[in-house]
């Protein structure tokens, strides 16, 4: 708010973003050149085998992109509108299940199934959001949060026991067209995921800076006041939850195609907690916060997951204590960075500006 409203040239505000985007576009090739591996994978017969550093790192970043979309959608609801949901995994998982069902349990032709499955997944998420919102948004904060938790938990238990979708085991997606299949053309998939992150970011930025976004933030600050200014806050909150639900659905679709597997873990509390923590750690109600949080936490996870820490004669296997470290990180961030990484940085920036 403080720095950007002084309206410098377009390039100055967006220059860093463009540079970052260019880096991310070139990323598979840069890693390929550095590690002497092909960004396309290794050919074997008429298929490509996804082997090599570049391909491996592509999948790491794809995971970051998926989490970033999920966290951005969470932030729209929580950070910008002030509605806390504990059931975001519901949307993430529902769209993945619908997509998987369309592909594996209908007789539709693959291409049609993908289109219909994706559309149905996103639309049903929006519908679910609308439905939950309609019955519960008149509940006060915590009640709404717990209601969403309860609904998500019911879906989780249900999917975990549903015999048709092989209960706890879940089911695999067997067929995706070659151009889309991350196990055959990872690079294509990388760009699809990147494009979706960029689109989501631009969409949310546009939305937040629009008059509608201003009302969202007014609701976050003080719903009663927004209402007394004549806004139908319920409608705005409904709109926010529907958009957030659909974006979470998009993230779910990406996740299913990446792992080619559908299972109840996609509806588990983990996929609610991840975006919540990523948002808070990155910076609640900031545009870049969720992305920073998603990238930071996921990359830390990757780095530490298989490492061993050697302190003199003691070897600590970090994989075993990673969850412990994660918990400690949460606690530290909440206490040390009270406004998240981006939020705290912005405050420093604003303070430096005021000094000048």
């Amino acid at each position: 708010m403080e720095a950007t409203t002084r309206n410098p040239s377009w390039l100055r505000t967006n220059g860093w973003l463009l540079l970052l985007l260019a880096l991310l576009i070139l990323f598979p090739f840069i890693v390929g050149a550095l590690t002497d591996s092909s960004p396309y994978g290794v050919p074997r017969g008429d298929r490509m085998i996804m082997r090599g550093e570049s391909v491996r790192w592509q999948s790491v970043l794809i995971e970051v992109y998926i989490l970033a979309i999920l966290a951005m959608s969470y932030n729209l609801l929580f950070g910008f509108t002030g509605v806390i949901s504990f059931g975001h995994a519901l949307f993430f998982g529902t769209s993945s299940y619908l997509f998987g069902l369309a592909l594996e349990f209908t007789d539709l032709d693959t291409g049609l199934a993908i289109v219909l499955g994706a559309l149905a997944g996103i639309l049903v998420c929006g519908l679910l959001g609308l439905l939950i919102g309609l019955v519960t948004l008149r509940l006060k904060g915590v009640y709404f949060a717990i209601f969403t938790l309860a609904v998500a938990e019911m879906f989780y238990i249900f999917f975990g026991r549903w015999q048709l979708t092989r209960a706890e085991d879940g089911f695999a997606i067997s067929e995706l067209p070659t151009w889309l299949d991350p196990t055959q053309s990872r690079l294509n998939y990388y760009y699809i995921a990147l494009a979706l992150v960029v689109l989501t970011f631009l969409f949310i930025r546009r939305l937040v800076k629009s008059p509608t976004g201003a009302v969202f933030q007014a609701i976050r600050e003080n719903e009663d006041r927004a209402q007394s200014l004549g806004y139908n806050t319920l409608n705005y909150k409904l709109f926010s939850i529907v958009i957030a639900a659909m974006l979470a659905g998009v993230a779910g679709l990406l996740q299913v195609m990446l792992n080619k597997k559908v299972g109840p873990e996609l509806v588990s509390v983990g996929y609610t907690v991840d975006p919540l923590l990523m948002t808070i750690i990155g910076g609640v109600g900031t545009l870049g916060g969720p992305i920073v949080g998603a990238a930071g936490l996921h990359l830390l996870d990757i780095f530490f997951r298989d490492r061993e820490l050697v302190l003199g004669a003691v070897t600590i296997d970090i994989a075993n204590i990673w969850a412990l470290l994660l918990g400690v990180i949460f606690i530290l961030v909440v206490i040390v960075f009270p406004y998240g990484v981006i939020g705290t940085w912005k405050r420093w920036q604003a303070r430096a500006l005021r000094r000048q």
């Binding site: 009640y143 938790l149 994660l326 918990g327 990180i329 606690i331 909440v334």
Partner: protein, 333 residues
């Protein structure tokens, strides 16, 4: 219970009556009906032990303590460890009689719970009272850390209770059916605790302060009462009671790392459907959810609805919230 709406009392009677009726119709004999009832009350009491702390802490301090389930789990592990040979605390030499060792083990579990409660409240939550959402994240982080420390100390393999002792393994017979004395004992203890806490809240000065604080924290301070001290006391007691719950549950459920999450989720359901911050609501909600789960377990036997018992608490919560947006006893605030 002065301001309780007649409608919510009717709703409670209808739901509990309905559950008992379903249990009765479903069971083939009076004995089976008794088993369902006892098992429902048993689960309800365990839930109450987690939920009561959750509810009072939320009402007074506006903190939804996500670590409450972890305290339950700690209680189970500590009691298990103290009762059995080997482990961190070995009391088998000092107190050879298992019947005597058990109450000591439960007491140790409560003390550990209370100490961990003080650490969390004083050390971590206190700086954050102005920022409730961050407290939520913090308690969540603490729950995670506690679960990991448990895994570190006791590994991830679940323990099942092996020590044989009097109360746990005795039965009594009624209507030609064998009932576990231990379950009856836990139910009795739970009811005693419900009454005891109610008396504490109604009759003692600290109870009056707690009830006043749930309504208006600021005014209590302006009367010259140090609310921080009350916070610490309530938080510590809440954690100790959750640990007590884990400890008395351990002889039946053993100790495992999933215990915390299961009970936390159900306890949250109880607290919300009872009305956040309402003690009566939590007590009645616990019994209701416990009975409902037991009835669902009965109903699910031999059918394909194996998910029914686990879904039941959430289902009940959603139903109650749809009918009464702030829970059975909650005031809209």
């Amino acid at each position: 219970m002065s301001r309780t709406n007649r409608s919510s009392l009717i709703a409670i009677l209808v739901i509990i009556g309905g559950l008992v009726a379903v249990a009765f119709v479903n069971s083939s004999s009076l004995g089976n009906f008794g088993i369902t009832l006892l098992s429902g009350l048993f689960q309800g009491m365990l839930l109450f032990l987690v939920a009561s702390g959750l509810s009072i802490i939320f009402g007074l301090m506006d903190v939804l303590n996500f670590a409450q389930g972890a305290y339950f789990m700690v209680g189970a592990y500590v009691a298990y460890d103290a009762q059995h040979a080997g482990g961190l605390i070995d009391l088998t030499q000092a107190i050879p009689d298992p019947n005597l060792r058990f109450p000591i083990a439960v007491l140790i579990a409560m003390i550990v719970g209370a100490l961990l409660g003080i650490i969390l409240e004083r050390g971590l939550l206190r700086p954050l009272y102005a920022r409730p959402i961050y407290q939520l994240v913090l308690t969540f982080g603490v729950a995670l850390v506690m679960a990991e420390i448990i895994k570190f100390l006791w590994t991830t393999t679940p323990y099942s209770w092996t020590e044989v002792f009097g109360v746990r393994d005795s039965f009594f017979e009624l209507f030609g059916q064998r009932f576990s004395t231990y379950r009856l004992f836990v139910v009795g203890m739970g009811i005693a605790l419900i009454v005891l806490i109610a008396l504490l809240l109604r009759r003692s000065r600290i109870g009056i302060i707690i009830r006043a604080g749930v309504e208006d924290r600021e005014m209590v301070q302006a009367l010259g009462i140090n609310v921080q001290t009350v916070f610490t006391l309530v938080f510590t007691l809440g954690c100790a009671i959750a640990a007590l719950g884990g400890a008395v549950a351990a002889p039946f459920l053993g100790a495992s790392t999933t215990l915390g999450d299961i009970f936390l989720l159900q306890a949250i359901a109880v607290v919300v459907l009872g009305g956040m911050g309402s003690y009566e609501g939590t007590a009645i909600g616990s019994i209701m959810v416990g009975l409902a789960v037991a009835v669902a377990q009965d109903a699910a036997i031999g059918t394909s609805f194996s998910a029914l018992p686990s879904i039941t608490p959430m289902l009940l919560l959603v139903l109650v919230l749809l009918l009464r947006p702030s829970g059975l006893f909650g005031n809209a605030r």
